[in-house]
Assembly symmetry: C2
Homo-oligomer: 250 residues x 2
């Protein structure tokens, strides 16, 4: 059956039985390490494994709304705090055998959040927790969530290059050093502080000065840093390219 037939009118019971869920790869930075929001599964299949927060798309909500709702439910976040979280669609996963019980197509989303309080085991009985991404092996993950997380991480790394979304990991006001640490954490590379500083200030619309400075210098000394907020650019021109992986060598 093709779309033409489908659209020409049909019995609603006529189409193949597929369930649609949304899953969320929610990232944040805690103590200098990239963390991921996960839920411990209690029941089979994959009991005891970690899974992404997610669930059915409701009849009255679109995909993005479903993802935002799932995120709100698991983090206990709402209002302004939730609105500051960046959320975008990552991709859909629909392998026929990805759920042992029935055909499920999951629309995965990717979220960038500033450091948030620990999720409270709230309305639901599942315990959600922020886990460092380095602490994960794909054997500990339910379904194809290991693959989804890998895709999300790669997307996140790439998005930092050509969008100003790194600021979404930070509070509304931040220093250039804090911004650099976001890049270093997500990319897993140290960056040259001076060059990074020059670049960030030279890309139009990336950050704008608040005029203020931090109250104190760094924990181990140094001058007070100037404060910035996110600018109005949606795209970085020119981009901040990550160091090429050395594939040319050997």
């Amino acid at each position: 059956m093709n779309e033409q037939d489908f659209l020409a009118g049909y019995d609603p019971r006529d189409y193949p039985a597929v369930a649609v869920t949304v899953d969320v790869v929610a990232l944040t930075i805690r103590e200098g390490a990239l963390h991921l929001l996960l839920i411990r599964r209690g029941a089979p299949p994959y009991a005891g494994h970690w899974a992404l927060p997610g669930g059915f798309v409701q009849p009255d909500e679109d995909l993005a709304a479903g993802a935002r709702r799932e995120l709100a439910e698991e983090t206990g976040l709402g209002g302004e705090r939730l609105r500051r979280v960046h959320l975008e669609q990552l991709g859909s996963y629909g392998a026929t055998d990805r759920d042992p019980r029935m055909r499920v197509v999951s629309v995965a989303h990717l979220a960038f959040a500033p450091d948030l309080p620990d999720p409270v085991a709230d309305t639901d009985a599942d315990d959600a927790i922020w886990l460092p991404v380095t602490a994960l092996t794909s054997r500990q993950l339910a379904f194809d969530h290991g693959r989804i997380i890998d895709d999300g991480l790669e997307r996140a790394r790439s998005k930092l290059e050509y969008t100003p979304l790194a600021t979404r990991f930070l509070a509304p006001e931040f220093t250039v050093t804090e911004l650099r640490e976001v890049y270093e954490t997500v990319w897993g590379h140290p960056l040259h502080a001076g060059n990074f500083h020059r670049k960030v200030l030279s890309v139009p619309g990336f950050v704008e000065s608040t005029g203020a400075s931090t109250e104190r210098g760094g924990a181990r000394g140094g001058p007070r840093a100037k404060l910035y907020r996110a600018g109005d650019a949606r795209l970085l021109h020119p981009a901040l390219l990550r160091p090429a992986r050395e594939e040319t060598v050997r």
Copy 2:
């Protein structure tokens, strides 16, 4: 209901009724213009409008397989020719009201094809046709397909920057000038021939020489051009950046 509940076991009739389709934004270049594969709708809703080729995901196929099947059905393509077409997932569209009759989530895909013969009105009665993308207004398009096409075009333009996928619009062997014309057509900008030549040959793995040259010079004169085939790079390092839109100049 969240995923936890869902996965804990449930009645298959329990989940919200959603249909999943795949749609394909198939692009090719004909006579120096970017063309798009579209199908003329015969029946309401949107009778007489253009729609993307697409249809239900079948129980035994994953999303990419469904998209490739739809593409094959509408182009009459198969075997090696079909395998050379680049196909990737574009994104999912699930607004609650995007189909007036029921909830449909469509997983859109993006395809890059070399110039193909005109589709034959084949197994199905719908007439598929390659249309220049410039000849479209979104009023002539069914559902949210105008939006999907816009997203596909933007993705295509951006993919040419950092991947070697421009070669997928060409025959297995091509000249640097043909490759440049792909970029010019998709980006809608003339490019500096000399600089483009230098850049393409300097990016590792983008193209490799076949050693051969074209049989004849250009239609209006000029020497025979050297022939190249696609190299083994999956990503271009450094990228071929498109000229910045002049937003600074306003």
